[in-house]
Amino acid sequence: MGLLTILKKMKQKEREMRLLMLGLDNAGKTTILKKFNGEDVSTVSPTLGFNIKTLEHRGYKLNIWDVGGQKSLRSYWRNYFESTDGLIWVVDSADRLRLEDCRQELSSLLLEERLAGATLLVFANKQDLPGALSKDAIREGLALDAIKSHHWCIMGCSAVTGESLLAGVDWLLDDIAARIFTAD
Protein backbone atom coordinates (compact mmCIF):
# COMPACT_ATOMS: atom_id res chain seq x y z
CA MET A 1 0.00 0.00 0.00
CA GLY A 2 3.06 2.23 0.27
CA LEU A 3 2.26 5.21 -1.89
CA LEU A 4 -1.45 5.31 -1.18
CA THR A 5 -0.85 5.28 2.56
CA ILE A 6 1.50 8.22 2.28
CA LEU A 7 -0.95 10.15 0.13
CA LYS A 8 -3.74 9.48 2.58
CA LYS A 9 -1.67 10.74 5.46
CA MET A 10 -0.86 13.91 3.58
CA LYS A 11 -4.53 14.54 2.86
CA GLN A 12 -5.44 14.08 6.48
CA LYS A 13 -2.90 16.61 7.57
CA GLU A 14 -4.40 19.36 5.48
CA ARG A 15 -8.09 18.89 6.12
CA GLU A 16 -8.81 22.43 5.21
CA MET A 17 -12.08 23.90 4.00
CA ARG A 18 -12.95 27.29 2.65
CA LEU A 19 -16.40 28.53 3.55
CA LEU A 20 -17.90 31.68 2.11
CA MET A 21 -20.65 33.41 4.05
CA LEU A 22 -22.93 35.72 2.08
CA GLY A 23 -26.39 37.22 2.36
CA LEU A 24 -28.15 40.58 2.32
CA ASP A 25 -27.00 43.23 4.75
CA ASN A 26 -28.43 42.96 8.25
CA ALA A 27 -28.85 39.18 7.87
CA GLY A 28 -26.50 38.43 10.75
CA LYS A 29 -23.45 37.01 9.00
CA THR A 30 -20.84 38.56 11.23
CA THR A 31 -22.86 37.77 14.33
CA ILE A 32 -23.04 34.11 13.28
CA LEU A 33 -19.30 34.05 12.69
CA LYS A 34 -18.52 35.64 16.04
CA LYS A 35 -20.98 33.53 17.95
CA PHE A 36 -19.65 30.36 16.33
CA ASN A 37 -16.18 31.39 17.38
CA GLY A 38 -17.35 32.12 20.92
CA GLU A 39 -16.83 35.87 20.78
CA ASP A 40 -18.90 38.73 22.14
CA VAL A 41 -21.65 39.62 19.65
CA SER A 42 -22.78 42.89 21.22
CA THR A 43 -19.97 44.84 19.55
CA VAL A 44 -20.67 43.65 16.01
CA SER A 45 -20.94 46.55 13.59
CA PRO A 46 -22.04 46.57 9.95
CA THR A 47 -19.27 45.01 7.87
CA LEU A 48 -17.46 47.53 5.73
CA GLY A 49 -15.42 45.02 3.72
CA PHE A 50 -14.97 41.51 5.03
CA ASN A 51 -13.87 39.37 7.97
CA ILE A 52 -11.86 36.16 7.84
CA LYS A 53 -11.71 33.64 10.64
CA THR A 54 -9.66 30.50 10.69
CA LEU A 55 -10.86 28.04 13.24
CA GLU A 56 -10.55 24.38 14.09
CA HIS A 57 -13.70 22.34 14.29
CA ARG A 58 -13.96 18.56 14.44
CA GLY A 59 -10.41 18.19 13.22
CA TYR A 60 -10.97 20.40 10.20
CA LYS A 61 -9.37 23.73 9.63
CA LEU A 62 -12.09 26.11 8.52
CA ASN A 63 -11.38 29.32 6.69
CA ILE A 64 -14.58 31.29 6.96
CA TRP A 65 -14.95 34.40 4.85
CA ASP A 66 -17.67 36.80 5.87
CA VAL A 67 -18.22 39.47 3.24
CA GLY A 68 -20.41 42.54 3.79
CA GLY A 69 -23.87 42.36 2.26
CA GLN A 70 -24.59 46.01 1.47
CA LYS A 71 -25.77 46.70 -2.04
CA SER A 72 -22.58 48.61 -2.76
CA LEU A 73 -20.48 45.60 -1.73
CA ARG A 74 -22.36 42.86 -3.57
CA SER A 75 -20.47 43.44 -6.80
CA TYR A 76 -17.30 42.49 -4.93
CA TRP A 77 -18.67 39.13 -3.80
CA ARG A 78 -17.30 37.50 -6.92
CA ASN A 79 -13.75 38.21 -5.77
CA TYR A 80 -14.24 35.64 -3.06
CA PHE A 81 -15.71 32.78 -5.09
CA GLU A 82 -12.50 30.99 -6.03
CA SER A 83 -11.99 27.54 -4.48
CA THR A 84 -14.98 27.82 -2.16
CA ASP A 85 -15.99 24.45 -0.71
CA GLY A 86 -19.12 25.62 1.07
CA LEU A 87 -21.45 28.56 0.69
CA ILE A 88 -23.37 29.73 3.75
CA TRP A 89 -26.32 31.90 2.75
CA VAL A 90 -27.69 33.84 5.67
CA VAL A 91 -31.27 35.13 5.66
CA ASP A 92 -32.94 37.57 8.03
CA SER A 93 -36.11 35.57 8.64
CA ALA A 94 -37.92 38.63 9.96
CA ASP A 95 -37.24 40.73 6.87
CA ARG A 96 -40.24 39.79 4.73
CA LEU A 97 -39.99 42.89 2.59
CA ARG A 98 -36.65 41.86 1.15
CA LEU A 99 -37.24 38.14 0.81
CA GLU A 100 -37.65 38.51 -2.93
CA ASP A 101 -34.35 40.44 -3.18
CA CYS A 102 -32.82 37.68 -1.17
CA ARG A 103 -34.15 35.02 -3.53
CA GLN A 104 -32.80 36.84 -6.57
CA GLU A 105 -29.34 37.36 -5.12
CA LEU A 106 -29.11 33.71 -4.15
CA SER A 107 -30.29 32.40 -7.49
CA SER A 108 -27.77 34.53 -9.37
CA LEU A 109 -25.01 33.25 -7.09
CA LEU A 110 -25.92 29.67 -7.86
CA LEU A 111 -25.35 30.31 -11.55
CA GLU A 112 -21.74 31.21 -10.83
CA GLU A 113 -19.39 28.73 -12.39
CA ARG A 114 -16.80 29.11 -9.68
CA LEU A 115 -19.35 28.13 -7.04
CA ALA A 116 -20.59 25.16 -9.02
CA GLY A 117 -19.02 22.56 -6.76
CA ALA A 118 -19.86 24.22 -3.48
CA THR A 119 -22.33 22.87 -0.95
CA LEU A 120 -25.06 25.33 0.07
CA LEU A 121 -26.19 25.83 3.65
CA VAL A 122 -29.02 28.31 4.16
CA PHE A 123 -29.31 29.75 7.65
CA ALA A 124 -32.80 31.09 8.33
CA ASN A 125 -31.44 33.38 11.01
CA LYS A 126 -33.21 35.37 13.74
CA GLN A 127 -35.59 32.59 14.69
CA ASP A 128 -35.55 34.11 18.17
CA LEU A 129 -37.75 36.98 16.91
CA PRO A 130 -41.44 36.35 17.39
CA GLY A 131 -42.24 37.63 13.90
CA ALA A 132 -39.65 35.53 12.09
CA LEU A 133 -40.79 33.44 9.17
CA SER A 134 -40.38 29.74 9.75
CA LYS A 135 -37.66 27.73 8.08
CA ASP A 136 -40.26 26.23 5.75
CA ALA A 137 -41.61 29.62 4.73
CA ILE A 138 -38.08 30.77 3.90
CA ARG A 139 -37.50 27.59 1.95
CA GLU A 140 -40.58 28.36 -0.09
CA GLY A 141 -39.80 32.07 -0.39
CA LEU A 142 -36.32 31.35 -1.74
CA ALA A 143 -37.60 28.52 -3.96
CA LEU A 144 -34.94 26.21 -2.56
CA ASP A 145 -36.71 23.10 -3.80
CA ALA A 146 -35.94 24.21 -7.33
CA ILE A 147 -32.19 23.99 -6.70
CA LYS A 148 -30.82 20.94 -8.44
CA SER A 149 -27.30 22.17 -9.08
CA HIS A 150 -26.02 22.10 -5.51
CA HIS A 151 -26.34 20.00 -2.39
CA TRP A 152 -28.32 22.21 -0.04
CA CYS A 153 -29.90 22.28 3.36
CA ILE A 154 -31.84 24.92 5.29
CA MET A 155 -31.51 25.40 9.04
CA GLY A 156 -33.50 27.70 11.25
CA CYS A 157 -31.09 29.32 13.65
CA SER A 158 -30.45 32.23 15.93
CA ALA A 159 -27.06 33.89 15.98
CA VAL A 160 -27.97 35.69 19.19
CA THR A 161 -28.78 32.55 21.15
CA GLY A 162 -26.50 30.31 19.12
CA GLU A 163 -29.30 27.85 18.44
CA SER A 164 -28.66 25.36 15.61
CA LEU A 165 -25.46 27.05 14.43
CA LEU A 166 -23.43 23.96 15.22
CA ALA A 167 -25.93 21.60 13.64
CA GLY A 168 -25.84 23.61 10.43
CA VAL A 169 -22.08 23.80 10.19
CA ASP A 170 -21.77 20.10 11.04
CA TRP A 171 -24.07 19.21 8.18
CA LEU A 172 -22.03 21.41 5.86
CA LEU A 173 -18.75 19.82 6.94
CA ASP A 174 -20.11 16.31 6.50
CA ASP A 175 -21.32 17.08 3.03
CA ILE A 176 -18.07 18.70 1.96
CA ALA A 177 -15.92 16.02 3.56
CA ALA A 178 -17.80 13.27 1.75
CA ARG A 179 -16.93 15.01 -1.47
CA ILE A 180 -13.35 16.16 -1.14
CA PHE A 181 -11.62 14.10 1.50
CA THR A 182 -10.84 10.44 1.70
CA ALA A 183 -13.51 9.45 4.13
CA ASP A 184 -12.35 7.04 6.79
Binding site: S72, L97, L99, G131, S134, G156
Partner: protein, 389 residues
Amino acid sequence: IFDQSEDGLLGSDQKGCGVLPLNTKVHFIMEAVVASEKGACHANEDEESSGKSNVPERLLKRDQERQEELLRRKEAKESLSVREEKSDFFTSAFNKEKAAIEDVLSGCTEGDGGTTATVLEEVSSRIQQLQKFLNDSMAFLTQYELRQAQASLQKLQSTLGEKRDKLMPKKKFTFRSRNAGTSKSKESPDSKKEDSPGSTAVDGTEGRAGGSRGPMAVDGVISEQQCGLSNADSQVFVKGADEIQQSDVLLTHLSNCKVKLLGSPSTLHIKHVRDCEILCGPVSSSIFLDHCSGCTFAFSCQQLRTHNTTDCQVYLHVTSRAIIEDCSGVRFAPFSWSYPGMEADFEVSGLDRAKNNWSQVDDFNWLSAESPSPNWGVIPEHERKSEWD
Protein backbone atom coordinates in the same frame (compact mmCIF):
# COMPACT_ATOMS: atom_id res chain seq x y z
CA ILE B 1 2.80 -5.55 -21.44
CA PHE B 2 3.60 -2.17 -20.01
CA ASP B 3 4.73 -3.69 -16.75
CA GLN B 4 7.20 -5.99 -18.47
CA SER B 5 8.86 -3.35 -20.53
CA GLU B 6 9.15 -1.14 -17.53
CA ASP B 7 10.74 -3.97 -15.62
CA GLY B 8 13.20 -4.55 -18.42
CA LEU B 9 14.32 -0.96 -18.41
CA LEU B 10 14.58 -0.87 -14.69
CA GLY B 11 16.67 -4.02 -14.61
CA SER B 12 19.11 -2.92 -17.26
CA ASP B 13 19.52 0.54 -15.78
CA GLN B 14 20.25 -0.63 -12.33
CA LYS B 15 22.50 -3.45 -13.29
CA GLY B 16 24.27 -1.43 -15.97
CA CYS B 17 27.72 -1.98 -14.60
CA GLY B 18 27.43 -5.75 -14.39
CA VAL B 19 25.52 -6.82 -17.49
CA LEU B 20 24.99 -4.79 -20.63
CA PRO B 21 21.62 -4.68 -22.37
CA LEU B 22 21.18 -7.17 -25.17
CA ASN B 23 21.74 -4.95 -28.23
CA THR B 24 24.76 -3.27 -26.73
CA LYS B 25 26.18 -6.68 -26.03
CA VAL B 26 25.82 -7.79 -29.67
CA HIS B 27 27.62 -4.67 -30.69
CA PHE B 28 30.36 -5.36 -28.21
CA ILE B 29 30.80 -8.86 -29.56
CA MET B 30 30.92 -7.51 -33.13
CA GLU B 31 33.75 -5.23 -32.19
CA ALA B 32 35.61 -8.15 -30.69
CA VAL B 33 35.19 -10.10 -33.90
CA VAL B 34 36.30 -7.14 -35.95
CA ALA B 35 39.34 -6.79 -33.81
CA SER B 36 40.36 -10.45 -34.20
CA GLU B 37 39.70 -10.77 -37.95
CA LYS B 38 41.10 -7.57 -39.34
CA GLY B 39 39.94 -6.65 -42.86
CA ALA B 40 37.43 -9.50 -43.26
CA CYS B 41 34.56 -7.91 -41.49
CA HIS B 42 32.67 -6.68 -44.56
CA ALA B 43 32.24 -10.07 -46.14
CA ASN B 44 31.26 -11.83 -43.00
CA GLU B 45 27.55 -11.00 -42.72
CA ASP B 46 26.75 -14.28 -41.03
CA GLU B 47 28.93 -13.35 -38.18
CA GLU B 48 26.39 -10.76 -37.04
CA SER B 49 23.32 -12.98 -37.07
CA SER B 50 25.00 -15.92 -35.46
CA GLY B 51 26.84 -13.69 -33.06
CA LYS B 52 25.21 -15.30 -30.08
CA SER B 53 26.84 -18.62 -30.72
CA ASN B 54 30.23 -17.04 -30.46
CA VAL B 55 29.53 -15.49 -27.08
CA PRO B 56 31.86 -16.81 -24.45
CA GLU B 57 30.45 -19.02 -21.77
CA ARG B 58 30.89 -16.34 -19.13
CA LEU B 59 28.68 -13.87 -20.93
CA LEU B 60 25.96 -16.42 -21.54
CA LYS B 61 25.89 -17.20 -17.90
CA ARG B 62 25.61 -13.55 -17.00
CA ASP B 63 22.75 -13.15 -19.41
CA GLN B 64 20.92 -15.98 -17.75
CA GLU B 65 21.52 -14.47 -14.34
CA ARG B 66 20.15 -11.23 -15.61
CA GLN B 67 16.97 -12.85 -16.87
CA GLU B 68 16.47 -14.53 -13.54
CA GLU B 69 17.03 -11.31 -11.70
CA LEU B 70 14.42 -9.66 -13.89
CA LEU B 71 11.90 -12.34 -13.15
CA ARG B 72 12.59 -12.09 -9.45
CA ARG B 73 12.09 -8.35 -9.46
CA LYS B 74 8.88 -8.64 -11.38
CA GLU B 75 7.47 -11.11 -8.92
CA ALA B 76 8.51 -8.94 -6.04
CA LYS B 77 6.76 -5.98 -7.57
CA GLU B 78 3.58 -7.89 -8.23
CA SER B 79 3.40 -9.09 -4.67
CA LEU B 80 3.77 -5.47 -3.51
CA SER B 81 0.98 -3.99 -5.56
CA VAL B 82 -2.48 -4.66 -4.24
CA ARG B 83 -5.33 -5.83 -6.36
CA GLU B 84 -7.55 -3.03 -5.07
CA GLU B 85 -5.14 -0.39 -6.32
CA LYS B 86 -5.45 -1.30 -9.96
CA SER B 87 -7.59 1.02 -11.97
CA ASP B 88 -9.28 -1.81 -13.91
CA PHE B 89 -10.35 -3.38 -10.64
CA PHE B 90 -11.79 -0.03 -9.61
CA THR B 91 -13.55 0.51 -12.91
CA SER B 92 -15.23 -2.87 -12.91
CA ALA B 93 -16.24 -2.74 -9.26
CA PHE B 94 -17.50 0.82 -9.61
CA ASN B 95 -19.52 0.09 -12.73
CA LYS B 96 -21.00 -3.04 -11.22
CA GLU B 97 -22.27 -1.18 -8.19
CA LYS B 98 -23.44 1.72 -10.35
CA ALA B 99 -25.47 -0.63 -12.55
CA ALA B 100 -26.94 -2.27 -9.47
CA ILE B 101 -28.04 1.07 -8.07
CA GLU B 102 -29.50 2.10 -11.40
CA ASP B 103 -31.48 -1.15 -11.48
CA VAL B 104 -32.92 -0.52 -8.05
CA LEU B 105 -33.78 3.06 -8.98
CA SER B 106 -35.52 2.21 -12.22
CA GLY B 107 -37.40 -0.63 -10.54
CA CYS B 108 -38.71 1.77 -7.94
CA THR B 109 -42.26 2.80 -8.86
CA GLU B 110 -45.19 4.61 -7.40
CA GLY B 111 -47.74 3.19 -5.04
CA ASP B 112 -45.81 1.34 -2.38
CA GLY B 113 -45.36 4.27 0.00
CA GLY B 114 -43.48 2.76 2.94
CA THR B 115 -41.20 0.54 0.92
CA THR B 116 -40.35 3.33 -1.50
CA ALA B 117 -38.96 5.36 1.37
CA THR B 118 -36.75 2.52 2.57
CA VAL B 119 -35.58 1.70 -0.94
CA LEU B 120 -34.66 5.33 -1.63
CA GLU B 121 -32.93 5.52 1.72
CA GLU B 122 -30.94 2.42 0.85
CA VAL B 123 -30.05 3.77 -2.58
CA SER B 124 -28.89 7.00 -1.00
CA SER B 125 -26.55 5.21 1.39
CA ARG B 126 -25.24 2.99 -1.41
CA ILE B 127 -24.43 6.08 -3.44
CA GLN B 128 -22.63 7.47 -0.44
CA GLN B 129 -20.61 4.28 -0.10
CA LEU B 130 -19.76 4.43 -3.75
CA GLN B 131 -18.57 7.99 -3.24
CA LYS B 132 -16.40 6.81 -0.38
CA PHE B 133 -14.99 4.05 -2.56
CA LEU B 134 -14.12 6.65 -5.16
CA ASN B 135 -12.55 8.90 -2.54
CA ASP B 136 -10.42 6.05 -1.28
CA SER B 137 -9.31 5.19 -4.78
CA MET B 138 -8.49 8.75 -5.78
CA ALA B 139 -4.75 8.34 -5.26
CA PHE B 140 -4.19 5.87 -8.08
CA LEU B 141 -6.84 6.88 -10.60
CA THR B 142 -6.12 9.03 -13.60
CA GLN B 143 -7.81 12.38 -13.97
CA TYR B 144 -10.02 11.01 -16.69
CA GLU B 145 -11.22 8.06 -14.66
CA LEU B 146 -11.85 10.34 -11.72
CA ARG B 147 -13.94 12.70 -13.78
CA GLN B 148 -15.91 9.89 -15.34
CA ALA B 149 -16.64 8.35 -11.96
CA GLN B 150 -17.55 11.70 -10.45
CA ALA B 151 -19.91 12.41 -13.34
CA SER B 152 -21.70 9.10 -13.04
CA LEU B 153 -22.05 9.62 -9.30
CA GLN B 154 -23.60 13.00 -9.90
CA LYS B 155 -25.96 11.45 -12.39
CA LEU B 156 -26.99 8.82 -9.90
CA GLN B 157 -27.56 11.47 -7.27
CA SER B 158 -29.74 13.56 -9.55
CA THR B 159 -31.72 10.51 -10.68
CA LEU B 160 -32.30 9.73 -7.04
CA GLY B 161 -33.38 13.31 -6.46
CA GLU B 162 -35.85 13.16 -9.31
CA LYS B 163 -37.25 9.86 -8.10
CA ARG B 164 -37.62 11.24 -4.64
CA ASP B 165 -39.37 14.35 -5.89
CA LYS B 166 -41.70 12.26 -7.97
CA LEU B 167 -42.54 9.51 -5.55
CA MET B 168 -42.52 11.29 -2.23
CA PRO B 169 -42.27 15.04 -2.79
CA LYS B 170 -42.72 16.06 0.80
CA LYS B 171 -40.13 13.83 2.39
CA LYS B 172 -37.15 15.99 1.51
CA PHE B 173 -35.23 17.54 4.38
CA THR B 174 -37.82 17.35 7.07
CA PHE B 175 -35.99 18.69 10.07
CA ARG B 176 -37.74 19.72 13.21
CA SER B 177 -39.60 22.93 12.63
CA ARG B 178 -39.92 25.53 15.33
CA ASN B 179 -42.95 27.29 14.02
CA ALA B 180 -44.62 24.34 12.38
CA GLY B 181 -47.99 25.42 13.71
CA THR B 182 -47.89 28.99 12.54
CA SER B 183 -46.07 28.60 9.26
CA LYS B 184 -49.21 27.52 7.48
CA SER B 185 -51.01 30.76 7.93
CA LYS B 186 -47.97 32.69 6.73
CA GLU B 187 -47.60 30.65 3.62
CA SER B 188 -51.12 31.24 2.48
CA PRO B 189 -51.61 34.97 2.64
CA ASP B 190 -54.72 34.99 0.48
CA SER B 191 -56.73 32.75 2.73
CA LYS B 192 -55.63 34.77 5.71
CA LYS B 193 -56.80 37.93 4.10
CA GLU B 194 -60.24 36.50 3.57
CA ASP B 195 -60.36 35.31 7.15
CA SER B 196 -59.93 38.78 8.55
CA PRO B 197 -61.66 41.26 6.30
CA GLY B 198 -62.00 43.87 9.01
CA SER B 199 -58.65 45.20 7.94
CA THR B 200 -56.59 46.73 10.66
CA ALA B 201 -53.72 49.05 9.89
CA VAL B 202 -51.48 46.00 10.00
CA ASP B 203 -53.36 44.03 7.38
CA GLY B 204 -53.36 46.99 5.09
CA THR B 205 -49.74 46.30 4.13
CA GLU B 206 -50.82 43.42 2.01
CA GLY B 207 -52.52 45.62 -0.48
CA ARG B 208 -49.52 47.74 -1.30
CA ALA B 209 -46.43 45.91 -0.34
CA GLY B 210 -47.06 42.49 -1.66
CA GLY B 211 -50.58 41.31 -2.33
CA SER B 212 -50.47 41.95 -6.04
CA ARG B 213 -47.40 39.94 -7.02
CA GLY B 214 -46.99 36.19 -6.69
CA PRO B 215 -43.58 35.68 -5.13
CA MET B 216 -43.94 38.79 -3.03
CA ALA B 217 -47.12 37.57 -1.42
CA VAL B 218 -45.30 36.10 1.52
CA ASP B 219 -43.47 39.39 2.11
CA GLY B 220 -46.45 41.59 2.69
CA VAL B 221 -48.06 39.56 5.37
CA ILE B 222 -47.50 40.60 8.91
CA SER B 223 -48.02 37.59 11.09
CA GLU B 224 -49.81 37.71 14.37
CA GLN B 225 -46.51 37.88 16.21
CA GLN B 226 -45.07 40.78 14.29
CA CYS B 227 -46.30 44.17 15.24
CA GLY B 228 -46.23 47.28 13.17
CA LEU B 229 -47.99 50.14 11.47
CA SER B 230 -48.56 50.84 7.84
CA ASN B 231 -50.43 52.99 5.35
CA ALA B 232 -51.29 55.95 7.49
CA ASP B 233 -51.29 59.68 6.95
CA SER B 234 -51.36 62.47 9.54
CA GLN B 235 -51.97 60.30 12.56
CA VAL B 236 -50.47 59.86 15.99
CA PHE B 237 -49.57 56.40 17.25
CA VAL B 238 -48.34 55.40 20.66
CA LYS B 239 -47.41 51.80 21.31
CA GLY B 240 -46.56 50.52 24.76
CA ALA B 241 -44.25 47.84 26.01
CA ASP B 242 -47.09 45.32 26.10
CA GLU B 243 -47.18 45.39 22.29
CA ILE B 244 -43.58 45.84 21.29
CA GLN B 245 -41.37 44.45 24.06
CA GLN B 246 -38.60 42.27 22.55
CA SER B 247 -40.46 41.84 19.30
CA ASP B 248 -39.66 42.86 15.73
CA VAL B 249 -41.49 46.02 14.73
CA LEU B 250 -42.19 47.12 11.17
CA LEU B 251 -43.34 50.59 10.11
CA THR B 252 -44.14 51.13 6.42
CA HIS B 253 -45.81 53.69 4.18
CA LEU B 254 -46.42 56.42 6.70
CA SER B 255 -46.57 60.12 6.04
CA ASN B 256 -46.93 63.12 8.34
CA CYS B 257 -47.33 60.83 11.32
CA LYS B 258 -46.04 60.91 14.87
CA VAL B 259 -45.06 57.55 16.26
CA LYS B 260 -43.91 56.78 19.77
CA LEU B 261 -42.73 53.33 20.63
CA LEU B 262 -42.46 53.16 24.41
CA GLY B 263 -40.64 49.94 25.11
CA SER B 264 -37.71 47.88 23.97
CA PRO B 265 -38.24 46.19 20.62
CA SER B 266 -35.82 43.50 19.55
CA THR B 267 -35.39 45.05 16.13
CA LEU B 268 -37.04 47.82 14.10
CA HIS B 269 -37.60 48.15 10.34
CA ILE B 270 -38.79 51.42 8.83
CA LYS B 271 -39.53 51.63 5.14
CA HIS B 272 -41.13 54.21 2.83
CA VAL B 273 -41.76 56.83 5.46
CA ARG B 274 -42.13 60.52 4.67
CA ASP B 275 -42.20 63.62 6.91
CA CYS B 276 -42.73 61.73 10.13
CA GLU B 277 -41.44 61.94 13.65
CA ILE B 278 -40.58 58.51 14.99
CA LEU B 279 -39.34 58.05 18.54
CA CYS B 280 -38.37 54.64 19.75
CA GLY B 281 -37.14 53.14 23.00
CA PRO B 282 -33.91 51.16 23.16
CA VAL B 283 -33.63 48.48 20.45
CA SER B 284 -31.55 45.41 21.38
CA SER B 285 -30.07 44.80 17.94
CA SER B 286 -30.36 46.74 14.70
CA ILE B 287 -32.60 49.42 13.25
CA PHE B 288 -33.05 49.28 9.49
CA LEU B 289 -34.15 52.38 7.60
CA ASP B 290 -34.97 52.32 3.92
CA HIS B 291 -36.48 54.99 1.66
CA CYS B 292 -37.22 57.63 4.25
CA SER B 293 -37.26 61.36 3.72
CA GLY B 294 -37.88 64.51 5.72
CA CYS B 295 -38.15 62.67 9.03
CA THR B 296 -36.97 63.20 12.56
CA PHE B 297 -35.93 60.07 14.44
CA ALA B 298 -34.85 59.37 17.99
CA PHE B 299 -33.23 55.97 18.25
CA SER B 300 -31.06 54.00 20.58
CA CYS B 301 -29.78 50.71 19.28
CA GLN B 302 -26.77 48.50 18.72
CA GLN B 303 -26.57 49.19 14.96
CA LEU B 304 -28.26 51.69 12.69
CA ARG B 305 -28.43 50.82 9.00
CA THR B 306 -29.70 53.66 6.83
CA HIS B 307 -30.43 53.20 3.12
CA ASN B 308 -31.86 55.41 0.35
CA THR B 309 -32.72 58.09 2.83
CA THR B 310 -32.62 61.83 2.34
CA ASP B 311 -32.93 64.88 4.55
CA CYS B 312 -33.52 63.24 7.89
CA GLN B 313 -32.41 64.08 11.40
CA VAL B 314 -31.39 61.27 13.69
CA TYR B 315 -30.95 61.70 17.43
CA LEU B 316 -28.94 58.66 18.10
CA HIS B 317 -27.49 56.43 20.76
CA VAL B 318 -25.63 53.62 19.00
CA THR B 319 -23.34 51.22 20.80
CA SER B 320 -21.52 49.79 17.81
CA ARG B 321 -21.88 51.68 14.55
CA ALA B 322 -24.26 53.61 12.31
CA ILE B 323 -23.94 53.30 8.55
CA ILE B 324 -25.50 55.03 5.57
CA GLU B 325 -25.75 53.80 1.99
CA ASP B 326 -27.19 55.73 -0.94
CA CYS B 327 -28.19 58.55 1.37
CA SER B 328 -27.83 62.29 1.38
CA GLY B 329 -28.55 65.05 3.84
CA VAL B 330 -28.73 62.78 6.84
CA ARG B 331 -27.75 64.60 10.00
CA PHE B 332 -26.94 63.18 13.40
CA ALA B 333 -27.02 64.37 17.00
CA PRO B 334 -26.80 62.55 20.33
CA PHE B 335 -29.94 60.88 21.64
CA SER B 336 -31.82 63.32 23.87
CA TRP B 337 -35.40 62.08 24.03
CA SER B 338 -36.64 60.32 27.14
CA TYR B 339 -39.84 58.93 28.57
CA PRO B 340 -40.90 57.50 31.91
CA GLY B 341 -39.60 53.95 32.27
CA MET B 342 -36.86 54.35 29.70
CA GLU B 343 -34.15 53.30 32.15
CA ALA B 344 -35.87 49.97 32.71
CA ASP B 345 -36.18 49.48 28.96
CA PHE B 346 -32.47 50.10 28.57
CA GLU B 347 -31.94 47.28 31.06
CA VAL B 348 -34.16 45.01 28.98
CA SER B 349 -32.36 45.88 25.76
CA GLY B 350 -28.93 45.23 27.20
CA LEU B 351 -27.51 48.35 25.56
CA ASP B 352 -24.54 50.04 27.16
CA ARG B 353 -25.59 53.56 28.10
CA ALA B 354 -22.01 54.67 28.50
CA LYS B 355 -21.06 53.86 24.96
CA ASN B 356 -22.39 56.08 22.22
CA ASN B 357 -20.78 56.24 18.77
CA TRP B 358 -23.42 58.54 17.29
CA SER B 359 -20.86 60.66 15.44
CA GLN B 360 -18.92 57.79 13.82
CA VAL B 361 -20.94 57.07 10.74
CA ASP B 362 -19.69 54.76 7.96
CA ASP B 363 -20.79 55.78 4.49
CA PHE B 364 -20.65 52.79 2.14
CA ASN B 365 -20.55 55.13 -0.83
CA TRP B 366 -17.64 57.13 0.53
CA LEU B 367 -14.64 54.99 1.27
CA SER B 368 -12.06 57.79 1.34
CA ALA B 369 -10.49 58.26 4.73
CA GLU B 370 -8.96 61.65 3.98
CA SER B 371 -12.05 63.72 3.34
CA PRO B 372 -15.36 63.38 5.19
CA SER B 373 -18.45 62.06 3.41
CA PRO B 374 -20.68 64.81 2.00
CA ASN B 375 -23.73 62.61 2.56
CA TRP B 376 -24.06 63.08 6.29
CA GLY B 377 -23.25 65.62 8.94
CA VAL B 378 -23.66 66.62 12.55
CA ILE B 379 -26.52 68.87 13.61
CA PRO B 380 -25.02 72.04 15.12
CA GLU B 381 -25.76 72.30 18.82
CA HIS B 382 -27.96 75.36 18.56
CA GLU B 383 -30.17 73.62 15.98
CA ARG B 384 -30.67 70.50 18.04
CA LYS B 385 -34.09 69.71 19.30
CA SER B 386 -34.36 69.89 23.08
CA GLU B 387 -38.12 69.80 23.56
CA TRP B 388 -39.90 66.55 22.89
CA ASP B 389 -43.61 66.67 23.56
